[in-house]
Assembly symmetry: C2
Homo-oligomer: 234 residues x 2
Amino acid sequence: MKKTFDLSLYLVLDPDLCGGAEGMVSTTLAAIQGDVTVVQLRAPTWKKRAVAECARELLRLMPASVPLIINDHADVARAVGAAGVHVGQKDLSPEDCRLIVGPDAVVGLSISNIDELSRLIVDERSRLSSDDDVSRPGVDDVSRFSPAVDYIGIGPVFPTGTKKDAAPVVGLEGLRTLLKTAPVPAVAIGGISEVNARSVYETGVSGIAVVSAICGKSDPEAAARSLLATRSSF
Amino acid sequence: MKKTFDLSLYLVLDPDLCGGAEGMVSTTLAAIQGDVTVVQLRAPTWKKRAVAECARELLRLMPASVPLIINDHADVARAVGAAGVHVGQKDLSPEDCRLIVGPDAVVGLSISNIDELSRLIVDERSRLSSDDDVSRPGVDDVSRFSPAVDYIGIGPVFPTGTKKDAAPVVGLEGLRTLLKTAPVPAVAIGGISEVNARSVYETGVSGIAVVSAICGKSDPEAAARSLLATRSSF
């Protein structure tokens, strides 16, 4: 059985905004005090040994109730025993990631437009229909019996400065459109702040993912609480 | 039982020198005609989806007798079913890689000086001694019962232009010194060409690894044969 996870407030760590590995750890612990529900370790310019070390330090200090997701690196996620991995369209495919992290880990995928979402739906359907053929040889049990993607990240909802290769802006209308056919829970990402968080929650998305709205703040705990408060006010 | 592998002539692919993915495939197939014994896919600037696609194409076309090793990415190696993974000192640790690729895959580690080699020897000894304690809880079978490192790459033996973050040159004398205490087979790398290959083989190293001596050549098959010929001449 797949672990349940709460996407309500999803913190994506940024090494530059946090001031390195130590800053990422302290930001994480403060943000968890402010009820962040998921933490993703994303350090695209770091070598993997540094990512693994930081991940192990986070896992040592974080409460087990908050899942740690590793960006891009399924091998790091598996090696350190993180809750899961999040990949983009050019990273290792969700199916390949599933093979590495196993059936009980969380696999997330970034989606920026209807084409990527349609491909995901087709992929999931063809994979699920092939599940019926249990005698098919050469197919790994893990890839056959567990969904490849557990949740999607949709974005950028608004313009963002923290991801250099970000796709065109989706907007709130685009987010609503994509949510209608999303086959799995979705978290919205990109330019979300205390100012616009309420409008994003109102689309019915499962949660919001933020980088600079927490990593760039002097009080990450208060920043997290403020973001969540925009949801409870409706 | 660990698979045997022949390090005699180890080709490290370079996307720029080969002219992209297609060029890497054609270079590989020609070089294998010239009796290259190992091929490593190294594309540090590529996203992992592209690395995995290229690896699958190589595996489809290469004879099973020649192992394909993936640079840096244990997850890609495991997902595509490559023979193994090669990591540097700042990549995922060999122990973590072993956990991902399993006991039958090959794990290689780059070594540039006596300190790195000493650490490897200590690591292997402490790991081996802990193998006796089979009752120790919480330790994965794979990490307990299989050596973390199957071979090392020692270099750069000579100055090289194909690795931007290369360590200081080891030299032939340095190579001989390191080989004396190397606990596993070693392949020498860095600036090795038809001109100096014989001097490297003469150190007693298990093999030589080359990038531009094959990838940059109009006839990779002939280039491979010429390199191997320097060994058979003594």
